[in-house]
């Protein structure tokens, strides 16, 4: 039986591939995609605004990049669920990604600097909460008529893409479902898949929202409005 195994890739070989060439390919595709989309976007340019801007304005492009992260009060009042679940997802995802010591080791290895992390049991709980938020996001898309109308294949696919590293990471940490070696390999593979596909899906918003918010704030700011 093990001869059949050996003829395919073994678990260890898969893990070594994800930690070696797999990482190179994922990073490479990510950079390729970001370069492509960056050119796609900025090549279209923006005509210079010839209308005289207001001399003093509470608003600006840079300001909106930050302030747009806070929902407007009337949005909170009307529909707190959507921003809450979305924030729960983002905060949980980034916390498990950036504050888990083994991940910080990855950053130290690539960038040369590190930062303090959180205790593993806390990360563990956060991962579960984040997965709950993913379920909430999925439910929202299916149940809310507005989201259902405007959601497409991409919107559901990125939910799966985002959930896989969380799920596989959780199972790897707890040594559940599959052997650690295989689970870790799948975890790294799912993270690499996410990284590689980011520029080609709506996940590219992680970068383009900075641009969109800047344009928004700039257009409004010139008119004297803080958007």
């Amino acid at each position: 039986m093990w001869m059949i195994w050996k003829s395919l890739m073994s678990e260890t070989d898969l893990l070594l591939w994800t930690r070696g060439p797999g990482f190179q390919w994922a990073l490479g595709l990510f950079l390729l995609g970001m370069a492509l989309r960056g050119f796609e976007l900025f090549s279209l340019g923006r005509r210079r605004d010839l209308a005289a801007p207001r001399a003093h304005s509470p608003g600006s492009g840079w300001r909106t990049i930050f302030t747009r992260s806070l929902p407007k009060w009337s949005t909170w009042r009307r529909t707190p669920a959507t921003p809450l679940i979305a924030y729960g997802f983002h905060i949980g995802f980034f916390a498990t990604l950036f504050l888990f010591p083994p991940h910080i080791q990855l950053a130290l290895n690539i960038f040369g600097f590190s930062w303090p992390g959180l205790p593993s049991p806390l990360i563990d709980a956060l991962a579960l909460l984040t997965l709950l938020a993913v379920a909430g996001l999925a439910a929202g898309r299916l149940l809310d008529p507005v989201k259902r109308l405007i959601s497409g294949f991409d919107d559901y696919a990125v939910l799966v893409l985002s959930a896989l590293p969380l799920l596989t990471g959780y199972f790897a940490f707890h040594h559940q479902i599959l052997s650690y070696t295989l689970m870790l390999a799948l975890h790294i593979l799912s993270a690499e898949l996410l990284l590689a596909l980011m520029p080609f899906t709506s996940l590219v918003h992680f970068a383009t929202l900075l641009v969109a918010r800047w344009y928004n704030g700039d257009i409004a700011g010139r008119k004297g409005v803080a958007s």
Binding site: R68, P71, K72, T82, G152, H205, T208, A212, Y215, A220
Partner: protein, 422 residues
Amino acid sequence: MSASFERGYHALMEVIDAPVASFFMSCVHCGLCAQACLFYTETGDPQYTPIYKLEPLKKVWLHEYTLFGRISSRLGLSKKLTDEELAAWSPLVYDSCTLCGRCSMVCPVGNDIAYMVRKIREGMAAAGHAPQGVIEATQRTIRLGSPMGIKLQALQTQIRAQEAETGLTIPIDQQSADYLALLSSMEIINFPEYLGSLARIFKQAGVSWTLSSEAFEATNSGIQIGVSDIAREIVLKIVNAAEKLQVRSVISPECGHAFTALRWEGPNLIGRPYNFAVVHILELLDQLRAEGRIKTDGQLDTPLTFHDPCQIARRGGVIEQPRRLLGEVAADFREMEDAGVMNWCCGGGGGVSANPRAEAIMIKAFKRKKDQLEATGAHTLVTACANCRIVIEEGLEAYDMNVKVIGLTELVAEHLKQEETS
């Protein structure tokens, strides 16, 4: 030439720029824009979701300006925009959108959706899918001089009436006056007191001003239908008249889209900055107040509230000025909830009130303003846009509400110290 799908498609290709691309790339389909749009909140119909209105534009962007979009359309994996789709989107783009820009304020990734609706209308109109009512208003503007068909004669009649009313001369075609005042058709026909109010206020404040017989119409149907070529023609009339009279500044009247057209879009339409400044009447009145040149006497003590016209406040930046003016003349001024830049649209701007096809939904959407108004407990509403006034008055009638609607300029003029105005 006439309208055609090819012209429409080409227009859409022309208007797509980097901001549009960044908006489409960033949208994560969260649907929060719907919660900010009164056409959705008062109907519960998801098709009115603001970003959904832009599907045709998104298709053009995908297929003409992205690598994967080009490849997939060439491989037949996705279909390009069709005339049928564009036509189907006309009610979404024209009937259920006033370009109020509330959606642009709440989008978490920063999309300026109203910016894009303005652009998609270029394609719609060139393809012949603008609503009949708006087309006719635009045709009247160009062929007759104003969207409601008002010609110089009608204006001159009103001028004479107001001169008789106020006992003041209303200057016209005065060379080198400081200010050129413009009017909107709505004011000329329905609220001519605006003109008289200007005369009285400027007399007291000692402002040198004039009208122009060659350019008195500020309303810009070109903006509303979404055809920059036509909008340019309308603005050029004003620019030429202003530069001919060598005025220092042009006053945009109590009309929302007129301000947007002249102050913000104008220089970009004609391709150069102006040789004069543009101010909204509220900006000028507030400036005069601050300089102590307007003296008022007494205050209205009935509770009143203020409706912020979208193009003047949120999309124009004139937010505090009306409040400071109201502070002079109102004893019991109550703000609505969401007052200021986040105020809700009256539902009739941006061509909607000129579009009979949109009447039903406009009345439905008005319920948002109705709820805001009722919550204040006031039976007097002040605003600074003639179109908002008409739309609100119609809505109040439809809902059988007993509320008086006044224009702010009029309100100020009514409280001027008497000795100064004879």
